[in-house]
């Protein structure tokens, strides 16, 4: 279990921690039982993400992926933000240990949940693919095949 320098930096100096009082979209995923909860707040103007903040209960990787995810989506359009998959977050952090991949999945889903909330509030909902992840993504076996780990380390622990 070794974190990259980038992960440690985003854990120790997380960007965008906090709440947005008048957020346009809020999403929370994960649950305490599994040890990770991420809550994302988005400020969206003209389809562009003007601000993003988060609160996270979780391990170092959960904090770092939250921090990185909010950084990545700031200034992006909603469409662009939806392209920020767990893989993009992981790559931006120079990778994650195999057992921590699920944290990046959680970050992707937290963004999606916040965006969905925004769309719902604004009557833009096309489908209801995301209902927020209330189960344990990755960790407790609820694997989502769309989310691939960077390395195939299935033999590992």
């Amino acid at each position: 279990m070794m974190y990259s320098e980038k992960v440690m930096d985003h854990f120790l100096n997380p960007r965008n921690v906090g709440e947005i009082e008048d957020a346009d979209g809020v999403g929370q995923v994960g649950n305490a039982k599994c040890g990770d909860i991420m809550k994302m707040y988005l400020k969206i103007e003209d389809g562009i993400i003007k601000d993003a903040k988060f609160k996270t209960f979780g391990c170092g990787a959960a904090v770092a992926t939250s921090s990185m995810a909010t950084e990545l989506i700031k200034g992006k359009t909603i469409k662009e933000a939806e392209m920020i998959t767990n893989k993009v977050v992981m790559e931006a952090l120079d990778g994650l240990p195999p057992v921590k991949v699920h944290c990046s999945v959680l970050a992707e889903e937290a963004i999606a949940a916040a965006l969905q909330d925004y769309k719902r509030r604004n009557g833009l909902l096309e489908d209801d693919r995301y209902e927020g992840c209330q189960g344990c993504c990755g960790g407790c076996g609820a694997q989502d095949i769309r989310h691939e780990p960077l390395h195939d380390d299935s033999d590992d622990e």
Binding site: E19, G35, K39, G58, P97, H102, G139, E157
Partner: protein, 394 residues
């Protein structure tokens, strides 16, 4: 103080004491003969091994040195005791009793045996982490062949009523093994007084070398070998003897025994100081495990609304080495089975911290720990959606 290392994880592993290392040293490069060899340098190594065996026998109150068997780890000792008894007694029965707070070395071994057709009963502990000997009594069946209950827990430090459990086992004529890996060197062990049949110890928990262990097998107790081969260890544990390791193991246990009282006093006083300071400064903290029947150096705390790994990493950045109550570090995502066993809800179990004090620690270090924890827990709580919900009264 950033660069200096403050080590509060002595339950995970200890450094080798300089005296212990000195005792081991000659056996690497100079006195390297194989103890099974007939010639003189082999014979002097045989003597070193047998002297170590006598010393260990004395340290744990064994009747004879021939009851001491050196192994390669505490885990090996646990595996040997349990699988060895299971194989030797399979004609008598296939039922084994253990507790639900054992170390993985015992639990995984029991799970393995379960897959081989054995039946395992897990006796529950109470909210302090204590096994009730009556529960063991009730769990024993005519086909019970072994009871294995740890002497002291590695996460919450709880010391079990081993003597009482041994009496229950004796009454029923059932073999009793105890994993004393955390107990050894921290509290007195007297196998005769305890009345145990089998007892496991690991060297690197009391300032001895890693990769060394010991299994006490009471005279007359027959168990199958785990590692077959040459004639070493009275034909019961094969493999060329790790002479420096064995010498270091014995020396470390010897020192621990001589120093037991001062060690106990020092560690428990540091522990109590830390507990008091933390409780005074940080709200919503819970102590896990019995405070009365507890290893001197163990402190296990749950900080609500935060997650354990984050606490550990931030402590590490401040130079403080501790351990999570959860098994997170080992790659597992489940919270500690021990904390769940004493009734903690998952989210609180996730926010747990084990501090295990040792002989190098000082009061100043404990002060620094208290300050650091105060700062870290605040920071993490401010980042926590659970704390947000709590303060908003959600």
């Amino acid at each position: 103080m950033q660069k200096q290392i403050i080590y509060f994880d002595h339950a995970a592993t200890t450094y080798v004491k300089p005296e212990v290392f000195e005792a081991m040293k000659p056996y690497f490069t100079e006195q390297y003969g194989n103890p099974s060899s007939i010639y003189s340098i082999g014979r002097s190594n045989r003597k070193a091994v047998e002297d170590a065996r006598c010393s260990v026998a004395k340290s744990i109150g064994a009747a004879e040195s021939s009851e001491i068997y050196f192994t390669g780890s505490g885990t090996e000792s646990d595996n040997w005791a349990i699988k060895g008894a299971a194989l030797a007694l399979q004609k008598k029965g296939k039922h084994i009793i253990t507790s639900n707070i054992e170390h993985p070395a015992v639990l995984a071994t029991c799970e393995f045996l379960q897959k081989q057709g054995y039946d395992i009963t897990y006796v529950k502990v109470n909210e302090e982490g204590l096994v009730n000997p009556d529960d063991v009594d009730k769990a024993i069946r005519p086909d019970t062949i072994l009871v294995t209950i740890m002497m002291a827990n590695n996460e919450i430090g709880t010391i079990q009523p081993i003597k009482e459990i041994a009496q229950v086992c004796k009454k029923h004529g059932v073999l009793f093994h105890t994993d004393a890996v955390q107990a050894a060197g921290n509290i007195p062990i007297d196998v005769k007084d305890l009345g145990v049949d089998l007892l496991s110890v690991s060297g690197h928990k009391f300032y001895g070398p890693k990769g060394t262990g010991m299994l006490y097998i009471r005279k007359g107790v027959k168990i199958e070998s785990l590692i077959h081969g040459g004639h070493q260890e009275r034909n019961r544990r094969a493999g060329t003897e790790n002479v420096p390791g064995i010498v270091g193991f014995a020396k470390a246990l010897e020192l621990a025994n001589e120093n037991m009282e001062a060690h106990y006093k020092k560690l428990s006083s540091l522990r109590d100081k830390a507990l008091k300071g933390i409780m005074e400064r940080i709200p919503y903290v819970r102590v896990n495990g019995s405070m009365e029947k507890r290893l001197p150096g163990n402190l296990n705390l749950s900080f609500r609304f935060v997650e354990g790994e984050s606490v550990l990493l931030m402590l590490d950045m401040k130079g403080i080495k501790a351990s999570s109550g959860s098994a997170c570090t080992s790659g597992s995502l489940d919270p500690s089975h021990v904390l769940l066993a004493i009734g903690l809800p998952h989210e609180i179990a996730h926010g747990s911290l084990r501090l295990s004090f040792g002989e190098i620690n000082t009061e100043e270090e404990v002060d620094y720990l208290i300050d650091s924890l105060d700062e870290i827990i605040s920071k993490l709580r401010n980042m926590s959606p659970l704390y947000e919900d709590f303060t908003k009264g959600v």
